[in-house]
Amino acid sequence: MASSGSRSNNRRYKWALDFNYKSKQERSVDVPSPPGYNPALGQVYTETSKESDPNHLIIKKSWDLALGPLKQVSSFKMIEGSHSASQKFVYFLGNILSVGLALFKCQSMGLLPSHTSDWLAFVEPQIRMEYSGGGLLLT
């Protein structure tokens, strides 16, 4: 988690650099660091400094929102401890319940294609096996 976070930070840093016009830091990457200078520390620093930047916050918040449903899936894995089994079960049950409720509601509203009539439009016409013709005698 942490490593991935730093990587993303790194990316974010580079990305943010372009827009925030922090040209000094940019140059400092190209120029060899003075002895005793740890670039990683500087990164951490810049990150914390950027936390206060409203633009950055907005983007982060948006990402959180966007990742919300995905996180929910992974949260299932995060259930730990002595009661994990029952917790997982309840979590599962809750989800099933909500899906079931949604289905029940849809069914009661007649939104589910559960009748033959719902598939009628897809019924292909029967293929004609014999052809016929003729009529009244022409005199």
Binding site: T116, Y131, S132, G135
Partner: protein, 910 residues
Amino acid sequence: MSGHCVHVIRVISFLLLFKSSFCLYEDQIGKFDWRQRFIGKLKFSVLDSKSNVKKIFVATEENVVAALSMKTGELTWRQVLEKGPQGEIKFMHADSEVITVSGNGPFIVRGWNLANGYSHFEWNSFNDADEPHENVLWTYHHGKLYKVVMLDSQQVARIISYNVRSGGQLAAYTVNIPGFSRKCKAIGINLVCLSNNGELKGVTVVNSQFFNLDVSAETKGANCDLLSVDSSSDLPVLAIGCKQSKLLVAIKDNTFKALSETVPISAGVSVTQHVSGTHLIVLSKQIDGVIKVNGKVLETDQPVEDIQSSFQSSSPFSDIETSNSLCTLRRDRSVYCQILLSTVDHSIIFAQTSSKIMWTREEALANIISVELVDLPVSDIEAAIEKEFDNKEAPVDIGVPSGFVGMFLRRLTSQLLQLKSLLLTVVSLGESVEKNGLEVDLVRDEFGLHKLIVAVTSVGKLYGIDNLSGNVVWQKYLGEMETYKSIDKPVVSFYVQRTSRHLPYPAQCFILGKHKASDESMVYTFNPINGQPIGDGLHRLGYRAVQSLLLHFVDDQFLKGVLLLDSKGGLHVHPESQTALVSEHAKSIFFFTANSESGLLVGYTLAHSSLEKLVASEVWRIQLSHKITGLMSKSPLERVHSQGRVLGDRSVLYKYINPNLVAVMTQAEDPIHKNVLSIYLIDVVSGSIVFSIVHKRATEPIHLVHSENWIVYTYFSDKSRRTEIGALELYEGKTQSNTSAFSSVASFDSPIVERQAFILPAGIEAMKETITEKGITSKHILVGLNSGGILEIPWMFLDPRRPLGDIREEGVIPYMPELPLPAESIINYNQTLHRVRAIHTAPSGLESTCLVFIYGLDLFYTRVAPSKTFDVLKEDFDYLLITAVLVGLSVAAYATKRLAQRKALKQAWK
């Protein structure tokens, strides 16, 4: 009273339903529709010289009395008399008013106003019990109408004179004409008879003076007939027509005077007054499609050079049957004549000598018997594109190299052409008004709404009519061919063998008729776009075909063959080259014939055919016990989109859609039940009677429509004295026995049949269902009413499942026995159509739209959209408004953006 109220409310709600299904706005008059009015084949005509607005008074074979404008040939007024023998016009005379005698049995004498066709008087003349109805002659002289009844048994003619206006009988006497044959004519004031030994006898009806003439030897014994020529002038002339020629005889001062010259039988002869008591005889004949007119003075035999002229038009003329002329002397003492000609192909031609043809009327169109709407070929540009994708066609243009470069070049050229035409249309938008006068190119439009109506008439003349304008594009008279008869109606087999969608092959149509002179059948294969023959053109078959069938598959030239069953049971395919191909499909082809008189239906299979010879072997036989009066199979073009019907509980009731199902009607005159109408639904492949139903005391008119899984029929109920509509609907059940294929041979359980009957408060002349390309659009039924309107009834109204109680199913309206007749549903609004014979419906390229062509005495073309035009924007769509709204919204969005920016800035400064 409040019951009535409910009724009214219901009716209103139905009207609303109707309204939603059909709508025509007043400004749409004539936009999609046109009407043409006809009168039929000429029988009597009088050229009126007295009134200031010159007219021609005519009476026709279609029982129509009318006045035509001499200038344009258009109808000034028209009165359509009773249908059939009831209204058959026996005599017409016009001077101060038009007098007609019509009917057969009691004769109806009617007087009509010359100027506007109002009725002046009407009275009846009854025959005595001993008088036959058929051999009655009429003539008019000085306010008196003479009725001459030929009493065959007594060898006398009974002459009764009436006051023409009141019908009061003035005198009655008999004259003895011993030895006369039935060949008699009343000409002027004379009754003239031709005896079998070639003797001409005449008697003046006014004073019974006799006179006779022994006509020349050549007419003696030969099969000659007495033809009246012209009795409008004071010099009545008659002709004795023999095989090839006719001898003209004038009656002057109670004597016959044979003219020296005989004229060809096909020449039109008319006599008019000339200067100083002489008479002009005008002869007109057709030679190589050109009408030649010449005349001479009857008394002196001196030819009149002035009136010698010849007329021709784009299509050749046929032989002349009758002619009527009116000659006048100009100030410079030259003579000119106006001639009204009627030809064997039922055209009426009006011409002026030494001038030109003033107008022609195609009266054969009053007797259309079969119609097809044919797709037009694509335009040159689109043809070029199609060529591009057609690999077989690649090496047509030698100049363009084939392969990658060639393809590219071809694409470029076709797209350039498209661009050019687009530019042209953009440019011509402004000046389209000028272009209207010119003929529109016959090319397919993008919605498939522009088609060609190919009509076959009872006289054997074919027409190609542009469906948008109603103009006759081409015409072709098949003189040698005559129509077949089936249940006393003229019929031909008319098929489209190839549509115009198969470039480079032209579209091809097929007509099966009879040869006039022999017993053989004749076939005419032609290009429906221009009427020109394809292949053999008009040719005799060498056998008499009794039934035909258009095959369902095409050969390598995209041509559908036609199977012909001859009178000896032999089977042929046209073209004959398809024999091997047909035998490949033989197992799936079934064929049936029905004998209307005996009620025998016979089914045949082709299964025993070999590659060389097609054999029809009998496999089933049904013997109905009464005369078959109608037989209706489904339209081969029909497609059914929905295979079932959703019920109230959301389950499906599957339709019983049997393409081989044929509805057969029989009518019996039962002594107890009177006029029993039976309808049999017969599977013509397996020969089983799927369902049958009987109605007692049901009489004509009977009409039937058969489509999808339902049958709608109408009859007049003698018991309740009203027109009733029966509706049958067939269902397979809640499950389909075979979901993928339908086979009639595989046995099945009888379908479930729903039935219901309704009352239509009107008489019915014709009935037809609408048809669309994919069958998604709901079906409507077009009903030709005797009021002259065409009523559009949604099928929903005739649904047999309409419940009497509560509504349980979707889209089902509660049952009401009487169907409403709202004026909004009359698709021809006030364009009254007389004697509607049939309604032809055809799908257009748009799923929503069905093209409708109604024929009878009048022609009417329109299009209907049963479920409204859901696939195109309404023609009153407001492009301006939507553009304005869009522009406005974008401007508003931009402006508010600026405003918001400014506000944000202000906020930041605070």
